[in-house]
Symmetry: C2
Subunit: 316 residues, 2 copies
């Protein structure tokens, strides 16, 4: 399989089109039309074999996840997905692997109407970099810097499932497919991000671990936060598979959940929480923003909880 055939194989599978793509794959650059009155949101995430996923992960799952983690960044800004570029570095041009990778990528792209508009294919150690483009009306973006003292802290869905899935995978135990699915096929909370616009004061996606990511919000907003470790939402699968201490570690410091952690004034939050629940992904109140400067964790009885380990950090 030559480079040309590899690109054709991807193009043939990523068929989502959009009227605002004026020129797609195949020239020196794509040409795209941003509607007037809209801002462009751009984010880039890389997945490296052996670091972000195990070498033997199914190509289909890698394709899905490489787009999902980028869509999650758009969700955290409240942006609507539009276009993606794909830089794929492969040790060898394995036709079957590329087909399955493209099918995984395309399944999610179809779901969110993302057009693949270009990219690059190179030979080297397996790694994928996606750059995602989204659109949003001027001045409504969710950022990390708007949290204010007194705001409630909320999180969508459940926490800790992806870390639990990874633990099961690493221990080569049979594992719970619901947990593995959260690890391998995360659902970006795009619809929920759109609902948060105009309501949340700050937002971030939980990729490094709740405590670390909420810490980024606190640093950007110049505030602190107190989290109730007993209020963190857990899935039935997580509750069934791990003891309370392990669960808590996964929920606080496990990464890769791709839920949204957001802040909002509590007085405003009733309708918002109803809307989120109706969207198919409810949110839970897990703490409160205060005038401190860090994330502090307590249990329901008010006792301090030590953070089990840091969130994911490269070069740590």
């Amino acid at each position: 399989m030559a480079e040309f055939e590899l690109i054709e194989s991807i193009r043939a599978r990523c068929t989502q089109t959009r009227d605002d793509v004026l020129l797609g794959i195949g020239d020196d650059a794509a040409l795209l039309a941003v509607p007037s009155g809209k801002w462009l949101a751009v984010s880039t995430d890389t997945l490296v074999a052996g670091v972000h996923f195990m070498q033997d992960t199914a190509a289909r799952d890698i394709g899905w996840k490489s787009l999902a983690v980028n869509l999650s960044d758009l969700a955290a800004m409240g942006a609507e997905p539009a276009w993606a570029t794909l830089a794929l570095t492969l040790p060898a041009a394995d036709a079957r692997w590329v087909e399955e990778f493209a099918e995984g990528f395309a399944a999610l792209a179809r779901q969110y109407r993302v057009a693949l508009t270009g990219g690059d294919t190179t030979q080297g150690p397996l790694s994928i970099t996606v750059t995602i483009h989204g659109l949003l009306p001027e001045r409504v973006a969710l950022t990390r810097s708007g949290a204010r003292g007194g705001d409630g802290v909320y999180v969508t869905g459940t926490l800790g499932d992806a870390a639990a899935g990874l633990r099961q995978l690493q221990s080569k135990s049979p594992g719970d497919s619901r947990l593995l699915e959260r690890l391998q096929r995360p659902t970006p909370r795009v619809a929920q991000g759109l609902l948060l616009r105009g309501h949340a004061t700050a937002c971030i996606d939980v990729s490094d671990g709740l405590a670390a990511d909420l810490g980024h919000v606190c640093a950007a907003s110049g505030v602190g936060a107190e989290i109730d470790a007993d209020a963190l939402p857990a899935s039935p699968a997580l509750l069934a598979a791990f003891d309370a201490g392990t669960r808590r570690a996964f929920q606080l410091a496990g990464g890769d959940d791709y839920e949204l952690c957001f802040t909002a004034p509590d007085v405003d939050s009733g309708d918002l929480l109803d809307a989120l629940a109706h969207s198919g992904c409810a949110a839970a109140r897990i703490g409160r923003i205060d005038s401190g400067s860090q994330v502090r964790i307590r249990d329901a009885a008010g006792n301090p909880v030590a953070l089990p380990r840091r969130g994911w950090e490269h070069f740590a």
Copy 2:
């Protein structure tokens, strides 16, 4: 050096700002304003250590080149550079290496007023993916598909220097610094691309080798081309360092020159060639588009010239 410090080191050096960057490095996505009436041009290129550059290449040169090859894609579209994202995968967080890389990247970014708006830093085998964004008025973009029978074929600058520099580097001969500079620090022909708008019928940048890249134009335009191998522009450094046969091979099939190859009706080309010469990078007429379907090469006497080797292709 932790991931946070690494990002800070890059941010501190890439200081080019732009009014149209509404939110830059540090949130889940950058927020950018595309002026109404402009189209967005987006391109992505990856450089992999050991494939696109030798492992011991200076970090400063890698930083420069990772942006230059992307700017070259914008040049080939006639787009004006605006924003870039940088996905940097590093085996280790070597502070000195990162500083020098960022300085090389920033030097070129300043020159073309490119704001670095975000990216990702991950641990893994050395590789760099840049996604570049440019702007251009609606409907004036240069593409690969507009070449017509009878158009002249032109190329900016000189060909073969980068391949000659690579040969010198590989043979560990002292080498000519002018050739090495063409390999390590290519000049994207951005100003020339802007001059071509409204005049060139098709354009591509010479990254894989002239014959291969002109072949992409012919395929996209549904035409053929005949090239005069004796008309290919050669630099004094190339003329001094290699014999005629080797030079010709480098000029026809060596990649990495990042000159622009374009087509234009000959009747229109006088003023255009004057303007290019005044821009500091003259263009030469090297052949003619015809109704064939391939690139054919002849010498000045009309004898066919065999293509010495294919242009660069991954997985070949």
